[in-house]
């Protein structure tokens, strides 16, 4: 997904849009940007500073600066939860744990090597079950006796789930088992940071209350979820952009800006 957040000089949100990134990828940032400008009723010229972040941040040719998702993410979470110590972000491609001290990122752990422990785990398995990821949370809430999933590997867990279903075990109990599997994998990763409250979880998977509850159980502490858990990275990028601009203004330094022209990225080629 490609997300855009536009804020004003006081940090108030003028618009926020979540659009597809899709397979054609990386080329759609301009369209999501257009939509966000429209929603805010702003012209592109009126944007003082634009920060791109995330996995595809180099593919936003009209950004004034690229900042890593870790930095932006930490900033975004701190703006919503000033007392956060551990931020967990679970996306479809990877999962990250951030350790934050006094609002600053001090350490992180990450898994982008194995689909287990990322949102992809649930995507792959729900596909085989013919249900949508959005339904998982409410399905697992009906579980009374969660089924333990013994395979870590997503591919084999999928086969295991089909096999358990064919044995007649209830879907709710199986889905609860899946939530526990992903939560225990993520908890195992995040424990390397020494977990301290407050813990905040973001990313698409944070919308799944089943996983959030399983994380609470696995970590043994309260886990907070922002009202819109997909937008913290973009929110952080906007806040960092605002801060850079205000600092430059205060020092009377010029602001380095790109030409305000919305275009899709053309230089991108994955084959080298």
């Amino acid at each position: 997904m490609t997300k855009v957040v536009i804020i004003d000089a006081d940090g108030g949100i003028c618009s926020r849009v979540i659009g597809p990134t899709g397979a054609e990828h990386r080329r759609l940032a301009n369209r999501v940007m257009e939509e966000a400008l429209e929603q805010a009723n702003l012209s592109f010229e009126e944007i003082s500073y634009l920060v791109a972040t995330g996995y595809g941040r180099i593919n936003v040719p009209f950004a004034d600066q690229q900042i890593t998702e870790l930095t932006c993410h930490a900033r975004g979470v701190v703006s919503l939860f000033p007392t956060v110590r551990i931020a967990i972000d679970i996306g479809g491609q990877d999962a990250k744990g951030l350790k934050i001290h006094n609002g600053k990122l001090v350490d992180f752990v990450m898994n982008d090597k194995c689909a287990a422990g990322t949102g992809r785990f649930l995507e792959v398995i729900t596909e085989a079950l013919g249900i949508r990821v959005e339904e998982l949370g409410s399905i697992s809430s009906k579980s009374t006796n969660k089924v333990e999933i013994s395979n870590t590997c997503t591919v084999f867990a999928q086969l295991e789930v089909i096999s358990r279903l064919s044995e007649g075990l209830p879907l709710a109990d199986i889905v609860a088992g899946l939530h526990d599997a992903i939560a225990s994998r993520i908890a195992g990763m995040v424990r390397r940071l020494k977990v301290e409250p407050d813990v905040v979880v973001t990313g698409g998977v944070a919308k799944n209350m089943g996983v959030v509850n399983a994380l609470r159980e696995n970590l043994g502490c309260e886990v907070f979820v922002p009202e819109e858990p997909l937008l913290t990275g973009a929110m952080g990028a906007a806040l960092l952009g605002k801060e850079l601009t205000l600092q430059a203004l205060a020092k009377g330094e010029p602001i380095q800006r790109k030409e305000r022209r919305l275009e899709e990225v053309t230089f991108f080629n994955t084959r080298s």
């Binding site: 397979a23 194995c114 689909a115 089909i162 064919s166």
Partner: protein, 259 residues
């Protein structure tokens, strides 16, 4: 007259061998499906039918593999590492290292001069470290498993896979297909990725020649060439590599029966 049976119930396929006087007389395999008990029974029946035998003709049966516990007619269960080792040394006593590439994991077994298991390592159950990865990519390319090895050898410009995960690897393969990468180049990349994982496993137990490859991976010339490139040696590929563990089980059944 006594015949012996070895049954290897794997995660993907189930294999059976009947031996007599240490020689394999019949081989048979079936997809394992979800009901191991059922497939074991069917495998046993069809294997007997190949030689016109009845269950009473089998003096001793050893079951092995992932579903070894689901073989109702087995006399004994033996862990697949020992069966694989016994099978390969019955074929070639000079083998000191076996790479057994299965559907769910890969194991590397070290053997003594007497054919005893001295050390082994089993990969995590990870699709990217097992034959499953090849199935997944074959599906993406809409090809049959048996065709992907030979085609991969035609590659001049192998695609480099950046991930060690079969799920992410599948997405990468789909992206490369949409960019019109040649099938052979994608396949060469996948074989190399699997060979790299297996080579890392071999490093941990050490390599001593002669080195053999068994399991379904032994049927794939692309994987064999890629491993040979990594290891800098020639691999021994036994006839019917996917049956080596079942064969070992049958031979161990004979030896057990003889006392």
């Amino acid at each position: 007259m006594a015949w012996f049976m070895g049954v290897d119930i794997g995660s993907g396929t189930s294999k059976g061998v009947i031996t007599k006087d240490g020689k394999p007389l019949a081989y048979h395999w079936l997809p394992s499906g979800f009901n191991y008990k059922m497939v074991a029974q069917k495998l046993g029946d069809e294997l007997l039918a190949k030689l016109g035998l009845s269950p009473q003709d089998i003096a001793y049966t050893i079951a092995t593999g992932y579903g070894a516990g689901s073989v109702p007619f087995s006399s004994q269960q033996v862990v697949d590492i020992r069966c694989c080792a016994r099978g390969i040394s019955s074929i070639s006593p000079s083998v000191r290292t076996v790479i057994d590439v299965q559907g769910m994991s890969t194991q590397v077994i070290r053997l003594s001069d007497e054919g005893q298991v001295t050390n082994f390592i089993v990969s995590e159950r990870c699709a990217a470290g097992s034959g499953r990865f090849l199935n997944i990519i074959a599906n993406v390319l809409r090809m049959e498993l048996k065709d992907i090895g030979p085609l991969s050898l035609k590659s001049k410009n192998p695609v480099i896979f950046t991930t060690g995960c079969a799920v992410f690897g599948e997405s990468e393969a789909i992206s490369r297909v949409s960019e019109n990468a040649a099938k052979e180049d994608i396949l060469a990349g996948v074989h190399k990725a699997l060979a790299d994982k297996i080579s890392a496993l071999i490093d941990r137990v050490g390599l001593e020649e002669q080195c053999a490859i068994t399991g379904g991976g032994g049927l794939n010339v692309g994987l064999i060439k890629s491993l040979e490139g990594n290891l800098g040696i020639k691999l021994l590929v036994p006839p019917q590599p996917q049956f080596v563990t079942a064969l070992g089980a049958a031979i161990m059944a004979e030896e057990h029966f003889a006392g």
